[in-house]
Subunit: 310 residues, 2 copies
C-alpha cells in the first residue's frame, strides 16, 4: 500500500465517521409505552441508542433498592466481588490486560466498603459486577424486584425468546470500565446513582485500535500487604482496545443515565462507563442479530485492522 492509497482508505474512514455523526450525535429520549415496530425502525435497525425515561417506573426495585435494603435482604450472604487496586478491572494497565481479584465476602462488608464506613486493609476498589446473568444466578432474592424480561425488547429482538443475561452492577465512583464493545443489544437501567456512558458508534472503527495483550490477574498478597499481578493460566493473550476513550481522536457521545432511566445501547457500540457516588444498575442483554449487518460490521473491522497494521 503506497501512502496515497493508504491515505485514501483512511479518508474513507473519516467520511464514514463524519457522515454517521449526522445520525447519531444526539441521543433522543422517549417514554413508555413503546411501540415495538417504531422502536425497531427508529433505533434497532439503524443502530441508534436512545434513552427510555419511564421504563422502570413501576418496578419494585425503583422504590426499594438501596444498600440498606440489600443489607436487609442479603443478610450475611457471601457474594463474589471484583477487587482491584485501581478501579480498573478488565482493562489494559501497564501494558497488560488486568483481571480483578474475585473475592468472596459478606454483602454487608462490601456495602460498608463502598460507602466508606470501612476501609479494608488492601485499600482496593470493590465492585459487584459479575456478568454471568448475576442478578438471576446469584441474587434471586433481588431478581424478583425487576421483570424477568423487558416486554417490548423481547418482542423487538427475538420474540418469543428471553434475554441471554440479566446483570446487576453495584459500585462506587472509583470503578471505571475500559473502552470495549459487546455482541449484545443492551437495555441498561439505573436504579440509584448515575452512570455516564462515553460512546463511539461502530462506524468510528477506523479510530479504534486493537492490540494483543498478555493477561494478568490482580491479587492482594497479605503476607507482604501488597497488590501483585500474576499471569492468568489457560489464556495466552487478549485482543483489546489499545487507546482508551481519551486516546480516540474523536469526541465521544456522552450520555448520562439517571435513576429510573434506561439506555438502549445497540450491539457493537464502543463504550466506557463511569459512575457517580454509589450506583446500582441492572441490565438486560439480548442476543444481537447475526446477518448481513454483522457481516458488514466485520468487513469494516477487518479493513480497519489492515489500515492499522500498515
Amino acid at each position: 500500500m503506497n501512502d496515497l492509497t493508504l491515505s485514501r482508505v483512511s479518508e474513507l474512514f473519516d467520511e464514514l465517521e463524519e457522515e454517521s455523526r449526522i445520525f447519531i450525535s444526539r441521543v433522543e429520549r422517549i417514554q413508555t409505552p413503546i411501540c415495538p415496530l417504531d422502536f425497531h425502525r427508529e433505533y434497532v435497525a439503524p443502530n441508534r441508542p436512545v434513552i427510555i425515561e419511564s421504563l422502570s417506573e413501576d418496578w419494585n426495585a425503583s422504590s426499594k433498592w438501596n444498600l440498606d435494603y440489600f443489607r436487609s435482604v442479603l443478610g450475611n450472604d457471601i457474594c463474589q466481588i471484583s477487587v482491584v487496586p485501581d478501579g480498573l478491572a478488565d482493562a489494559v494497565v501497564e501494558g497488560k490486560f488486568q483481571l480483578p481479584e474475585e473475592r468472596k465476602i459478606k454483602f454487608s462488608f462490601f456495602a460498608d466498603v463502598i460507602e466508606g464506613k470501612t476501609k479494608p486493609e488492601d485499600e482496593g476498589v470493590y465492585y459487584l459486577q459479575r456478568q454471568n446473568s448475576c442478578l438471576t444466578e446469584d441474587y434471586p432474592k433481588l431478581a424478583k424486584d425487576v421483570p424477568n424480561h423487558v416486554e417490548f425488547a423481547t418482542k423487538v429482538f427475538e420474540f418469543p425468546s428471553s434475554p441471554d443475561a440479566i446483570n446487576i452492577w453495584v459500585g462506587g465512583k472509583s470503578s471505571v470500565s475500559s473502552l470495549h464493545r459487546d455482541p449484545y443489544e443492551n437495555i441498561y437501567t439505573v436504579i440509584r446513582g448515575k452512570k455516564i456512558f462515553k460512546l463511539f458508534p461502530p462506524t468510528y472503527r477506523g479510530k479504534i485500535v486493537y492490540k494483543e495483550f498478555p493477561v494478568v490477574r490482580c491479587y492482594y498478597n497479605q503476607s507482604i500487604s501488597k497488590w501483585e499481578r500474576k499471569t492468568e493460566k489457560g489464556i495466552d493473550s487478549v485482543r483489546w482496545i489499545e487507546n482508551g476513550v481519551d486516546g480516540v481522536d474523536a469526541s465521544p457521545i456522552i450520555v448520562e443515565v439517571k435513576p429510573g432511566e434506561t439506555l438502549y445501547l445497540p450491539a457493537g457500540w464502543f463504550h466506557q462507563v463511569y459512575q457517580e457516588d454509589i450506583t446500582i444498575a441492572v441490565n438486560y442483554w439480548y442476543d444481537r442479530a447475526y446477518d448481513q449487518r454483522y457481516v458488514k460490521e466485520r468487513f469494516i473491522d477487518q479493513l480497519a485492522e489492515l489500515l492499522h497494521e500498515t
Copy 2:
C-alpha cells in the same frame, strides 16, 4: 497500493460476499397477513428479499387485468411507450448508455404489437414502463384496481406516509432490464406472466464495476427505415454498471415471480429483470432509510471504487 495489500482488500470483499451468502442465498416465501414488526426484523432490517405469496389475492387487478381488459378500459387512449431495436432500454449497448425512443401511440396498437398481432415497420421492442409513478399519473382508470398503498409496507417503511411511486409494467419477453439498483424499498407484484429477477445483494459490491458512459437515445429514422442513436442533449454521461449480470464473477440469486406473487426487493440490491410471455406487473417504491446503514453502504461502495480504479 502494492499488489499484496490490494489483494488483501480484494480478499476482504470476497469474504464479505461469501459470508453474506449464508444469510441470503435462499429467498423465503411468506403469506399475508404480515406482522409489520416481524417483517421489519426478518427482512427489512437485515436487507433480505422475500416472496409474499398472497398479497394481491383480493386486488381487482388480479382477476381483471389482461390486455383485452386494458383495451376495453383505455380504448384509443394515447400512451407513452418505450421502443428500442433490441429490447435494451437504459442499458449499455456498444459502449454507450442507451435511452429508448419514447413514442406516443394508441394502447390498442401497443397491445397488438406485443401480442404479435401487428408487426410494426420499425421491428422494435415495445415496453410500457415509465417509472414516474405511471400507474397513478398516466393510468388512473387502472390505478383503482390496486390499493393506493400496501398497508403493511407503509407501516414498516415510513408510517404514516405513502409510497413515492406506483408503476405499471407491461411488455413481452424481449424486454430485459440492465443490471442496476434503486434507492427504494420495492414491493413488486406480478399480475400476469412471469418475471425473473437475477439478484446480487449490496455485499457483492466488490464484483460490480461501474464506469462512465456517454448517453445516446434511440430513434427510428423513417426516411431511411433504420434505427439510429443520437447524443442525448443536456446530459454528458451516466455512471452505470459495466459488467452485466453475466459479467459478474458470482452466481446471481434467481427469483421467479409468478402471477399473484410479490417480491420484496430491499433498497440497494442489484437486479436484472427478465420476463416470460406478456407480463403485467405493478410495483410500489417506498423511500429507503438514510441513516447508519446508508452511510456504511456508501463506504463499501467507495472502497470498491478505489479497488477497481487501482
